[in-house]
């Protein structure tokens, strides 16, 4: 038994000697993570304190799970939490595949010039601030002058005031988000596609595959590891919807479906300087996210041998 441990230590030492360069390469990043991300994490204590910035993390009194209790007893928070999951869940279903599809479509584009041009253009909206995007969306959906409603009424429907209807909010939010980000997000997949050996396509072509089939049976499986990684990360973000865009788009009238944890925190926490509550909400999210990811990662490692760690 003891000799086994000794052997392990010896192996370890030998491995370290053999691969020391590898550890040197890792070192800066490791130090960085420790110094810039892990060191301040002691600040997560705030979630369990009645935090006053002036008193500081150490000087603020402990309150145990009080902040969590406050959150979980707050029906508005619960609703925001459910909304968050719903929006990102729907996003996962409807928005997540879009950049993949887009990347696949770009990949099928024959004209080099066309491909360059269109790729450049579709990633443009990413750079346009959400304020402008929200403005455009509001204009498009205006019940009186918006293009969408003009089309609707020309088809004989009544105009819809989309942005005040809770039923429509998710559609509008996810849809416009896709439109804004899909082009940019497709870059990851384009990079993955670039790594596929062209001989596979040749082989498939001779085997009689149509382009459609090649897309499905070659391209897609080959970028699957990337998709899975992105998916797992996305699953980790199920409990996270950024507040900036929502705030521009939502209305009290649509809170029912639009109010998410981050907007809740924004309204209640930061404006009123309730860092403790905000941190608690963040921590609550993180724990759930982590549990989700942990599961997803485990499943993925089993099923596809791709994993986040």
């Amino acid at each position: 038994m003891g000799s086994k441990i000794a052997q392990h230590i010896k192996d370890l030492a030998e491995d370290l000697r053999r691969d020391w360069q590898l550890y040197v390469l890792l070192l800066p990043m490791l130090v960085w993570f420790l110094l810039f991300l892990y060191k301040p994490m002691e600040g997560l204590q705030i979630a369990f304190k009645d935090f006053s910035p002036f008193r500081g993390v150490a000087g603020s009194p402990w309150v145990g799970f009080e902040n969590f209790r406050t959150l979980l007893n707050d029906q508005i928070f619960i609703r925001a939490f459910i909304n968050t999951i719903t929006i990102s869940g729907l996003g996962l279903i409807f928005a997540f595949p879009v950049p993949i599809i887009l990347a696949l479509m770009f990949n099928e584009l024959q004209s080099e010039v066309g491909r360059r041009f269109s790729q450049t253009v579709v990633y443009l909206p990413h750079f346009i601030s959400v304020v402008i995007v929200a403005g455009i969306v509001i204009n498009l959906l205006s019940p009186t002058t918006g293009v969408v409603n003009l089309v609707l009424s020309s088809l004989g429907f009544d105009p819809i005031y989309f942005l005040t209807q809770p039923e429509w909010f998710r559609t509008v939010f996810i849809g416009s988000n896709v439109w804004k980000e899909a082009g940019f997000e497709s870059i990851v997949y384009l990079a993955a596609i670039a790594g596929i050996s062209p001989t596979l396509y040749e082989s498939a072509r001779v085997d009689g595959a149509s382009r459609w089939q090649m897309m499905w049976r070659i391209t897609l499986p080959c970028i699957l590891p990337t998709i899975i990684i992105m998916l797992i990360i996305r699953i980790g973000n199920l409990v996270e919807v950024g507040f900036e865009y929502i705030i521009l788009l939502y209305q009290p009238a649509t809170y029912r479906t639009a109010d998410v944890v981050s907007t809740y925190v924004y309204r209640t926490g930061l404006q009123g300087t309730q860092y403790d509550l905000a941190t608690a909400a963040g921590l609550f999210n993180a724990v759930i996210a982590f549990a989700l990811v942990f599961t997803a990662n485990r499943i993925s490692r089993k099923v596809s041998s791709t994993s986040l760690w």
Partner: protein
């Protein structure tokens, strides 16, 4: 009507022309083998037939239809790739099944076909593995399997056996031959292994530098190579080519090799008729026709002095690397049973009838009818 016809096919990569105006007509059911040195354009030609490379000039027809602009999948051909091109995300069974799946074959049909192919190729134990977990030879067999499960109009093989061991290779060769007999599918087969070429081919196409040097049945090419290149390319070890000069001696033409020890070859009458005095020629001697059993009488055999540099034993035979008139010559001889040392061999016996002679300048064979 030819099954496959290449008409002045040219392939250029940018300014570089790698295939120059190839003409070839393959009859239905015929097994044609392309051989030639590395980089001579065999794969490129095959890929043009498959539809994987644009044809820079000329036309290719399959089954009478010009296919220059027909998609590979509509040409009804199957191909084994030189670099395998296995789908890394699919296991062996799925790799083999791919061609059938994309054609929407039924499950049981696919399964049966896969099992059949796997059995032929000795792949049964590996069906569930991914290509990454296979040895080189196993991968190559999978690539073979992928082609043979389909029943295409034309088979294209690009060195399908190059990574197999001798035993499997012989076995696979026979298997391919049998398959071809059974399915009677037109096949174009690229190889650099002339044993494969000789045994499999109905006709062999010898290529060199993007050109066709000679087309013919294996024995035709072996016995009557049109030029020095073909002669030296077929046969293993290749035919020895000894540079010589034609002189008239005793009324008949002889080829003289200059050197420290000048050597003369007597010519068969048919060839001698085509020779001019002073002509520079290459005298072709197949290693397996050279013999160490000297001293046997007869006008049909001549003896030549030699010096042995190196002996490579091959088991029951051996390769003698020796020199004739200073020029290297390889002889393939039986290992003497009497224990004589092969390094001592001083003279080689050459059957005169089996001499070949090529003009140095044109490379063409001199065979009297010229």
């Amino acid at each position: 009507m030819s099954a496959v016809e290449l008409n002045d096919v040219v392939k250029r990569y940018g300014a570089l022309e790698v295939v120059h105006s190839i003409k070839l007509s393959v009859s239905p059911g015929e097994f044609v083998v392309l051989v030639g040195p590395s980089g001579c354009g065999k794969s490129t030609t095959l890929r043009m037939v498959a539809g994987l490379e644009d044809i820079s000039d000329g036309t290719i027809s399959i089954g009478g239809r010009v296919v220059n602009r027909v998609a590979p999948k509509d040409r009804d051909v199957a191909m084994v790739f030189q670099n395998y091109a296995l789908y890394p995300h699919l296991n062996v069974a799925e790799n083999i099944a791919f061609g059938l799946r994309v054609r929407g074959e039924k499950n049981d049909v696919v399964e049966a076909a896969v099992n059949e192919a796997a059995a032929i190729l000795d792949l049964m134990p590996y069906l569930k593995r991914k290509p990454a977990d296979l040895s080189g030879g196993q991968r190559q067999r999978v690539a073979m399997g992928r082609a043979i499960v389909r029943k295409p109009q034309v088979f294209l093989f690009d060195e399908p056996l190059s990574n197999l061991d001798a035993k499997l290779r012989t076995q696979m060769r026979a298997e391919i031959k049998r398959l071809h007999k059974r399915m009677d599918v037109t096949s174009i087969y690229v190889t650099h292994d002339q044993v494969e070429a000789m045994t499999l081919a109905d006709r062999i196409v010898v290529m060199n530098g993007g050109r066709v040097e000679q087309v013919g049945s294996p024995m035709e090419l072996f016995l009557n190579p049109a030029n020095a290149f073909v002669a030296s390319f077929l046969g293993s070890p290749p035919m020895n080519l000894v540079a010589a000069r034609v002189e008239a001696a005793n009324g008949a033409a002889v080829a003289c090799v200059d050197g420290n020890v000048p050597v003369q070859f007597r010519m068969p009458a048919a060839i001698a008729a085509g020779m001019r005095a002073g002509q520079k020629v290459l005298v072709g001697l197949r290693p397996e026709h050279l013999d160490i059993e000297v001293g046997r009488p007869g006008a049909d055999t001549q003896e030549i002095a030699t010096a042995v540099d190196l002996v490579e034993p091959l088991g029951s035979e051996a390769l003698l690397h020796c020199r004739i008139g200073g020029q290297p010559v390889v002889a393939k001889v039986d290992t003497p049973v009497d224990g004589r040392s092969l390094s001592d061999v001083a003279r080689l016996a050459i059957p005169t009838a089996r001499l070949h002679v090529f003009d140095v300048e044109t490379g063409k064979a001199i065979n009297g009818q010229a």
